[in-house]
Symmetry: C2
Subunit: 763 residues, 2 copies
C-alpha cells in the first residue's frame, strides 16, 4: 500500500509539475492586479472577470466623509477601497471602480470572524475595537479573477473569485463554536456623507438571503439588488439596525426582531450569520448582484454559478482573462510584459456589464428595460476613456465597443436631459468633467466602420447633445464661439473640448453624407481659435466682453478657465487640428520650442503641494501624464519637423510612468485610459484624435506585438533592433513597403499585415 | 335669433330638469362622504371609485410628528388628512386610509395657486405664511367619486374625480400671469417622524411628469410610482429640494438645477409648474399611481383615463358606485337611507386594488409579481374587518372576496415570516393588533362555499400561521393553553382571539375533511376557558405560574392583559362558543345579568379622559361600540332566554352610533367594519362568529331590503309594522314558514327568498 501510494504521489507530482509548466506560459501570469494599488493608481486587487458586473475585492479602510466638520481628504485615497500600505482588512465588498478619482460603490461587505461577535468595523489603529483583521502581503495572492489572503486575527483563509454577476467567496475556518459571517450594508465607498438611503434584507431560508440597497452617492439615486447563497445552513442569525428611524416600535413586542427575525429594513443595516465550524472547514458564499430585482439576482446566480466548486469558477474566470489577453501577443522583457498585460487587464475591466442574464437592466429613468440585441454596459468615464480606451476597443474589441455604443444610445433615449452620457454609472449620470465625449466614442466607431448600431441614430443623438444650450456654457459657446469665463467656469477647457467634440460630429456627418450637419459642426470645431491669446502664447480664459481675463497663472492646475490641467498642458488640447494649432501658435519652430519647454521645465515644489492627482513621478518637466488632457501631447511633435521627439518622449513616459509594482502607476488609471495609452503607445501608435482613422506613429516598447483581430486577420508589429536605448525610429515598413508618413490608418491595421519599425539609438 | 335661442335654452332647461329628476332616484344621492369626517370617524370626503387604488381627497392640515420633543397627539386626528372643523386646505393628495386609527399614505399633494409662488405649506393659524387656502363648507360638494371646493384665497375652483388608478383634478383659474401647480412630495400623512426615504421626479416633456416616492411610515418600506399629465403645457418649472444631502454639489455649476432642469431626487422634494391663465380657464391633471413602475403608471393612465373630459370620468365613477349600491335596495326614511348607503359607500372603499392594469403588483418581498387569475388587493385591516366586512362581502361581493382571499394567499407565499396578513398595506405588513384574523376571512369563505381559490392551500396557510411559535406569545399559547401575561402582554386579548381563530381553522378543516387538523384546532379553540377567573367573573390575565395577575381593573381600557378594550368588553369575546361561555360564566341567568350590567352601568368621567377612540357617544353604559371587540356582544342575548334585549340593544346602537352628519360616526370606521356592522344589523342579522354559516337575527332598522346576489338570486327582507319604537321582533317568517330559531343560514340567503320580520313595540 505504501509503495503504491508513493507511486501515486509521484505521478501526481509529475502532473503538477507539468501543469505548473503549462501554466507558466499563460499570459495571466504577467498580470499583477496589485499594480496601482499603492498611492495614486486607485486600482483594486480583487477578483473580477473581463467587464464583469461584480468586482469582489478587499477593503482596507472605512473612512468618515467628514472629520471634525472638515472634508476628509483621505476619502480620495480609498476610491478603490484598498491601499497597499494598510495593515488591516475590514472585509470584502462586491463593487469597485478601477482607477477613478471620485468614489462610490463598495456594496455589501462580507467579513468572516470567529469568537465573540463584533458588529462594529473598528479602526485600523486598533483592530480589536471592531471586526477588522490584520493581514500581511506575505499571505496575499492577487491574480486575474482570484484573490487570497489570510485574516490573521481569526486564522481564516479568505479566497475570492467571480463570474460576471456573481462573487464567489471561500473562507477556510479554524474549529470554532462561534464562527460568524457578517453582511455589512452600512459600509460603502464614498465621497458623500451618509450615502445610504435604504437597505432591505430578508432571510428566505437557512442558506438564502436576499435584499437590496439604495444609495445616494456619486450616483445620485442608485439601487443594487442581491441574492446570497451559503454552502452551509445558518444556525442562528440577527441584525444590527443603526437607523435612527424605526417604524415597528409601536408593535415591537410582537416579535423578538434582533434574533432570527427574517427581515430588516433601514438605512444602517448589518446582518450576522452564525455557524459551528471544524478545523479547516470551508464555508462558501455565492453573492449575485442585479440592477433590477432579487429574483433576477437569484437567476443570475443559478445561471452563472450553479455548483459549489470554487476552483471551477476560478478556472473559468481565468480562462476568460487568458482569452482576452491573447488578443495581443507581445514579445518583450518581463517587466514590459507585466506592464503590458496588467494594462490589458486594467483596460478590460471597464466599462462593466449592467444587465441581468435575462437581458433586463435598470435604465437612466429608473425603470426596468430589456436590452434587445446588445449587452448593456455602464461605468462610462468618458472624459478619460474616449481618448484611447474606446479607440483600442475599436481595434481589439469592436463587438463589445458596438454594444457600448448601443448602451450609450439607450442612455440617450432614457435621459431626461436628452443627452448622451457624460460620466454614467449604474443608471445614473454624475455629469463628471467637461465636454460630451460620448460623441467622440460614437464618431470613432462610425468613421472606423464598426457595425452593430444605427449610425444615423447615433449622429442624431450627438447633434441633440451638442445643441443643448443650457448645458455648461454651451449656449454661450454656440452663440459667441467660446465659453466666457465670467458666465461659466473652466471656460478654456470647455471651449477646447467642445471644439474637438464638434469636429467628431462633423466627421460622422461627412461619413454619413449629412452635409448640413457637417457644415454646422466643422465650423464650430474652429472655435478653439477664439480662446488663443497671441500676446501670451497660451489658450487663455476670455470674458463675455471679448477681453482676456487679466490675472493668469499658466502653471496653476486650479486656475480659473481650466479643469484638471493647467494652461501649459490644456493649451495643446486641439487634437483634431494640430497643424492649425501650430500655425496659430506661430509656426513649427516656435511651436516646437513651446513643446520642448513643456517637457523640459522645472516645476516649483508649490505646484505639487496643491495639485491633486499629480506627483513628481507623474510628470516630465511640466508634462503631466498622470491626468488625461496631455495624453496626446507627446505625439504632437509628429506635426513638427522633429518627430523624433515624439519617439523620445513617448518612450520616456512608457518607461517612467508605468512600473510593475504596487506604486507603479503615476496617476489614477481612470477606468483603463492610462492603461490603454500604455498598450497603444507600447505597440508604436496612438489615436491623437479619435474620430480620425489615423494613428500617429510613436516608438514601440515591445519587440513584437501580434494582434488577433475579431475579423480573423492578424496584424503584426515588429521592432527591429529594439532596446531601451534604441528609442528612435529610422524607418517604418508596412507590408514590405517603406511608409513615407508618420501615421497608419485603421483600415491598414484591420486588413491585417505586418508593420516593421527599424529602431536606433540615434535620431 | 333671440327667440330661437330662448327656445333652445328652454329645451335645455327641460332636459336639465328631467336629468335632475332622474338623478334624484339614484342611490348615490343618499351617500354623504362627509359623514365621519368630524372627530372620530377618520373617513375622508374626497373622490374614489369602489375599492379604488386612488383616494383623491383634500388635506386640511400638515402636522409635525413631534412638538417640542413630544409626540403630537393631533396626528391621530389626521389619519384621513381631513377634519371637518378645519378652515384651510393645504392641497389634495392621492392616497388615504378610510377610518383607520393609525396613519400613513397622503402621497403626492397637489395645490393650485396664483400670484407670488410660495413653496411652504404654512400653518392653519396664518394661511398666508404658506400656500394653503381658506375654504368654506358652503362651496364644498362631496359625492361618491366627486369632490368640489373653492380655494377662497386664490379664487380657484377645485374639482376632483378618479378612476381605479387615476386621480383626475380640474382647477378653474382666474386670469393670472402667475398660475402655479405645486406637486408636493414632502407632505405625507404619518405617525412617524421624517417618513420620506426618497423621491425621484422627472419632467419628461411639457405635459408629462413621472417619478416615485419611497416612505418609511406605518408601511416600513413602501414605494409609489406616478405619472402626471397636464392638459396645458408648462411654461416654466422648478424644484425645491429640502434634502440635507446633495450629491451634485461638486458639479452644481454644470446646470442651473433650480429652474427648468428636468430631474430631481432627494428626501424632501416639491415641484412647481407655471402657467398663464385666462379668466375661467380650466387646467386639468390626470395623476396615475402604480406600485411597480412609472411605465405602468403611464399605462394605467392611458388605459383608464384616455381623454380630457372631467365629467365623463366623474359620470363613469358615479355609475360604478350606483351599480355597487344597487346590490341592496332598501326602503327606509331619509336619515336611515343616508346612514345605510353611506355605510355601503364606506364598506366598499376597502380593501383597495393594488395592481396595475397589466396585472403587475409589488409583492411583500418587494419584487414585482403578476396576479394570475385574480385582482390583487391591499389595505387589509383584518382585526377589524374579519368581523362583519368580509362576511358582508361573502353575501354581496363574493367574487371580490375570493380575490381578496387570493391576495392574502399571495401575501402568505411572499412572506418572510411565512404568515398570512395581519394588517397589510402596499406590500408591507405592519403587524397591527393581535391575532391572525385572516384565518377567519379564509374560513368564512371556505365554509360558505365561496369559490375562486384553492381551499386546501388556504387551510395550509392558516395552519402554518397558527403554528408560528415565535409570533406574539403563540408558542406559550400552544404549550400552555394560554398566553401568560408575564411572558407576552395583552395576554387575555391574545388568548381569546387565538382561540376564536383556532376554531375558524377547525371549521375549515371539517369542511375539507382534514380530520387531524380539525382535532388539533378544535382542542385549541377551547383555550378561552384558561383565562376565565371564576372568582372575579371575568377573563383575567394569567401568569406563567398559573396564578391570575393580582391587580386587576376591569374598566381600564389600557389594563395589562388587554388591547383596545377593557375586561368588561373583551371578556365576552368568545364568538365561536357563546353557549360554553354562558355556562362558564355561571349559566344563562347570571350571564344575562352580567350583560345587562355592561349596557346599563354609568362610567366615570375619568374613563373617557384616558381612553383613545371612545367618546360618550360611542358607548351604551360600558358597551363600547366605537371599537371592534364588542361588535358581537349585543347579539349574545340570543343565546340567553331574553333575545329581545339583542333587538333592543342593536336598534339602540343603530340609532345612537350612526348619524347622517359629519360627526355621525361614534368611532373610527376602521376600513368599513363599523359600516358593515350597520348594514348587516340594519337588515336584521349579523355574523357573530365568521366561520360559521349562521347569522344571528336582530332587529331590522329598514322597512325593506332587497339583496341582488351575484348568483342571480334575490333575497328580500321585510319588516312589517316597522317604526323607531317597534324594535321588537314578534315573529320571523322565511319563505312563508315561521322560523323557530333566531338565526338564518348563509345558504338560506344565497338561495334567494323572502324573510319577513313582524315588528312590535313590545317584547
Amino acid at each position: 500500500m505504501m509503495k503504491v501510494r508513493s507511486g501515486l504521489l509521484f505521478v501526481a507530482g509529475v502532473c503538477f509539475s507539468l501543469t505548473a509548466f503549462a501554466q507558466d506560459n499563460r499570459l495571466i501570469n504577467y498580470v499583477n492586479p496589485l499594480i496601482g494599488t499603492d498611492r495614486m493608481g486607485h486600482t483594486y486587487p480583487g477578483a473580477t472577470v473581463p467587464f464583469g458586473a461584480v468586482q469582489l475585492s478587499p477593503e482596507t479602510d472605512t473612512l468618515p466623509y467628514e472629520v471634525d466638520g472638515h472634508y476628509n481628504k483621505d476619502v480620495y485615497k480609498y476610491c478603490a477601497g484598498y491601499q497597499y500600505i494598510d495593515k488591516t482588512i475590514v472585509g470584502f465588498s462586491h463593487t469597485h471602480f478601477s482607477g477613478t478619482g471620485h468614489s462610490d460603490l463598495g456594496d455589501f461587505l462580507i467579513m468572516s470572524t470567529v469568537g465573540k461577535l463584533q458588529l462594529n468595523p473598528g479602526v485600523a489603529s486598533d483592530p480589536k475595537s471592531g471586526f477588522r483583521s490584520g493581514f500581511s502581503h506575505s499571505t496575499e495572492v492577487a491574480e486575474p479573477d482570484y484573490y487570497k489572503v489570510k485574516l490573521d486575527r481569526y486564522d481564516i483563509l479568505a479566497e475570492l473569485t467571480a463570474t460576471t454577476r456573481v462573487g464567489f467567496h471561500q473562507y477556510t475556518f479554524p474549529a470554532s463554536e462561534h464562527a460568524h459571517i457578517i453582511l455589512d450594508a452600512v459600509y460603502g465607498i464614498y465621497n458623500y456623507p451618509d450615502k445610504n438611503v435604504w437597505t432591505y434584507m430578508r432571510v428566505e431560508n437557512d442558506t438564502l438571503v436576499t435584499g437590496y440597497r439604495q444609495t445616494n452617492g456619486w450616483g445620485r439615486t442608485r439601487t443594487v439588488y442581491f441574492a446570497m447563497v451559503l454552502s452551509k445552513p445558518i444556525t442562528e442569525y440577527g441584525w444590527q439596525n443603526g437607523s435612527k428611524k424605526e417604524v415597528y416600535h409601536g408593535f415591537w413586542g410582537k416579535w423578538e426582531q434582533s434574533r432570527d427575525f427574517p427581515e430588516m429594513a433601514g438605512t444602517q443595516i448589518r446582518a450576522w450569520f452564525d455557524f459551528k465550524t471544524e478545523e479547516g472547514e470551508k464555508i462558501k458564499i455565492k453573492f449575485a448582484l442585479s440592477p433590477v430585482s432579487t429574483a433576477n439576482a437569484l437567476e443570475n446566480l443559478e445561471t452563472e454559478a450553479p455548483g459549489w466548486s470554487f476552483n471551477k469558477v476560478k478556472k473559468a474566470g481565468q480562462a476568460q482573462w487568458e482569452q482576452e489577453l491573447k488578443k495581443i501577443e507581445v514579445t518583450a522583457d518581463k517587466d514590459t510584459k507585466e506592464n503590458f498585460y496588467t494594462s490589458m487587464y486594467h483596460a478590460f475591466i471597464n466599462p462593466t456589464v449592467y444587465m441581468d442574464v435575462n437581458g433586463e437592466y435598470r435604465g437612466l429613468d429608473q425603470g426596468t428595460h430589456t436590452a434587445k440585441g446588445f449587452v448593456n454596459y455602464t461605468t462610462f468615464s468618458l472624459w478619460d476613456t474616449h481618448r484611447a480606451l474606446h479607440p483600442l476597443f475599436n481595434i481589439i474589441q469592436p463587438r463589445r465597443n458596438a454594444d457600448m455604443v448601443s448602451s450609450m444610445l439607450a442612455h440617450y433615449d432614457q435621459s431626461a436631459e436628452h443627452m448622451l452620457p457624460v460620466w454614467s454609472n449604474s443608471a445614473n449620470e454624475n455629469w463628471c468633467m467637461s465636454g460630451y465625449h460620448s460623441v467622440s466614442v460614437l464618431a470613432d466607431a462610425v468613421v472606423k466602420g464598426v457595425s452593430g448600431f444605427d449610425a444615423n441614430r447615433a449622429l442624431n443623438a450627438c447633434v441633440a447633445t451638442a445643441r443643448h444650450a443650457s448645458y455648461e456654457g454651451l449656449g454661450y459657446y454656440i452663440k459667441m464661439g467660446y465659453v466666457p469665463e465670467d458666465k461659466n467656469g473652466s471656460s478654456v477647457s470647455k471651449t477646447l473640448e467642445y471644439a474637438y467634440d464638434d469636429w467628431c460630429i462633423a466627421q460622422m456627418a461627412q461619413k454619413l453624407n449629412r452635409q448640413d450637419i457637417y457644415n454646422e459642426f466643422i465650423l464650430r470645431s474652429e472655435n478653439f481659435k477664439h480662446v488663443y491669446d497671441a500676446a501670451s502664447g497660451f489658450m487663455r480664459p476670455k470674458m463675455s466682453d471679448g477681453t482676456f481675463k487679466q490675472s493668469f497663472d499658466v502653471l496653476n492646475t486650479d486656475e480659473p478657465g481650466f479643469i484638471e490641467g493647467n494652461a501649459w498642458n490644456y493649451g495643446f488640447y486641439v487634437p483634431h487640428q494640430p497643424a492649425e494649432l501650430i500655425e496659430l501658435m506661430g509656426g513649427k519652430k516656435k511651436f516646437t520650442q513651446h513643446l520642448d519647454s513643456l517637457f523640459e521645465m522645472q516645476l516649483p515644489d508649490s505646484f505639487f503641494a496643491k495639485t491633486e492627482d499629480i506627483t513628481r513621478d507623474g510628470i516630465i518637466g511640466n508634462y503631466v501624464h498622470g491626468n488625461e488632457p496631455s495624453h496626446h501631447i507627446a505625439y504632437l511633435y509628429n506635426w513638427t519637423d522633429q518627430p523624433w521627439k515624439t519617439q523620445l518622449r513617448v518612450r520616456e513616459a512608457l518607461d517612467k510612468m508605468y512600473k510593475p509594482t504596487p506604486a507603479g502607476l503615476s496617476g489614477n488609471d481612470d477606468c483603463g485610459q492610462m492603461s490603454a495609452w500604455y498598450i497603444l503607445s507600447a505597440m508604436g501608435f496612438y489615436p491623437v484624435a479619435p474620430g480620425s482613422v489615423n494613428y500617429a506613429l510613436g516608438s514601440p516598447a515591445v519587440g513584437k506585438a501580434v494582434l488577433h483581430l475579431e475579423n480573423g486577420h492578424t496584424f503584426t508589429i515588429t521592432a527591429k533592433n529594439q532596446s531601451p536605448q534604441n528609442v528612435y525610429v529610422q524607418k517604418v515598413v508596412l507590408n514590405g513597403k517603406v511608409l513615407n508618413r508618420n501615421y497608419i490608418t485603421h483600415e491598414e491595421i484591420m486588413s491585417g499585415g505586418e508593420l516593421v519599425f527599424y529602431m536606433s539609438g540615434k535620431h
